[in-house]
């Protein structure tokens, strides 16, 4: 079972929850290159949510370069590049990560603390795969 958990009452928007979980599943290897995601209609029906929400999430993933939306076959997972991350995506991740790290420092987290946390997160993702 490749499960998606959505908490409708959470303060995180539903489409963000869905996007995050799909990214985690790809990072863990539970979703592999060439796997197709369910159609927008069927995933929206299974979750009892609006089709636009799922659609928005799929397009977000496509923009991030994680999936490719192929007419007729649906949303296909892209392979993890062997020669490392593309420059454009690296820049985006730096931009997104910076305020979070800044927030951690501002709240008193040490450099070691941040580094330990990062490696813990990485090993948890690998463990669950």
């Amino acid at each position: 079972m490749v499960l998606i958990h959505i908490e409708p009452s959470s303060s995180i928007p539903i489409y963000t929850q869905l996007t995050h979980q799909l990214i985690i599943l790809i990072a863990q290897g539970q979703l592999k290159a060439g796997d197709t995601l369910p159609s927008v209609r069927s995933l929206a029906s299974d979750l009892g949510m609006n089709m636009h929400t799922v659609n928005k999430s799929y397009h977000e993933l496509e923009k991030k370069g994680l999936i490719q939306i192929v007419p007729k076959s649906g949303a296909v997972i892209n392979p993890i590049p062997r020669d490392g991350i593309a420059e454009v995506h690296r820049l985006r991740i730096v931009e997104e990560l910076e305020p979070i790290i800044a927030e951690a420092i501002a709240l008193g987290m040490t450099s070691e603390g941040i580094e330990t946390l990062t490696s813990t997160i990485i090993s948890t993702l690998k463990e669950e795969s």
Binding site: M1, I6, R41, L43, S45, D46, G48
Partner: protein, 368 residues
Amino acid sequence: MTLTIFLVMIAFIIIMQASIPFLLKKTLAFGVTIPEGYTDHKTVTASKKAYSAICLLLGTVALLGYAIWANQPVLSEEHIVLIGLGIQFGILLISMVLYLYFHAKITRLKRSQNWGSDLKQVRIADLAIRSKDEMLPTALYALPIVITIGLIAYTATQYGNMPDLIPTHWGPNGQPDAFSEKTPFSVVALLLILLVMQGMMLGIHALTKQSGIKLNAAKSKTSQIQQLSFRKYTSWFLFMTSFLITILFGFLQLVTIHEGLGNEVIMLAFPLGFLFVILIATAVYAFKVGQGGSRIDVLVEDESAPGITDVDDDQYWKAGVFYVNKNDPSIFVEKRFGVGWTINFGNPIGYLILFGPILLIIAISLLL
């Protein structure tokens, strides 16, 4: 004969109505979502028992009263039919009133005691589930339609030999009791009605296949097995119904064309056999599969995941029976009180698939 048929039907309706609370998932009672941990609350279990007991008791009284009353020799068959139908509706009405009473009661209790406020509501979906779905292929439902089209073509070739009066209604003894004049339309009207019904079943099948597979967040594995079984057996049941109706209507049509084909015994046996098989199949389906597969035995039942419960979507269920949710793309959803599917009234296609065929059948009957 008529009386026996009605007695069996009434007894069947009583048993089915009285059993409903026990054919459902434990997280649903009288159309109200019951959060994990409250499913065995004493008011919930007592309400289910009270509902069934009252249904059984009133039903049995009505059934016995009917059986005794109908034994008077002066009664015409029409009387027996009319009162028999009245009793069937009466039982449905009583169970509806009881349902509404308990629905209101459980809703009030849940609200006043804040059930589930300490639990996190989670909705889950399995990305790989569609590949495990075993509902029949939609193309299979086209097979009975092909048979009907073949029968229409055959009727056209036999038009000259057909009688001047075409039967349009059959009595409980299987003999025709209403006729229309022979026209190119009236000779195939029965087959057209059959075609509409087959088309409706094909549509229902195609749309239920698209509908959401809703898993229970606290019991993902168990609910997955139950959901998949429910979908599989529901599609089998629907296909069997489509197939049996085709046999029955096709037989009636052939008897109209070739009058010598059906003697009295066969004419009686066909509709009765049809009714009998449908009743048995319904009972087996309801008690073996249950609503949403709730009565399917799961080899290893998973433990309830702590701290979480299914999403409470009571707000979309008017009176606990009518589902109105514009966001949900599912056109058919599982009933909350009863066995089978109901439509999402928030989606106009649902109305079309339900009322379109009924209007078409009425139109065909009026044109005769």
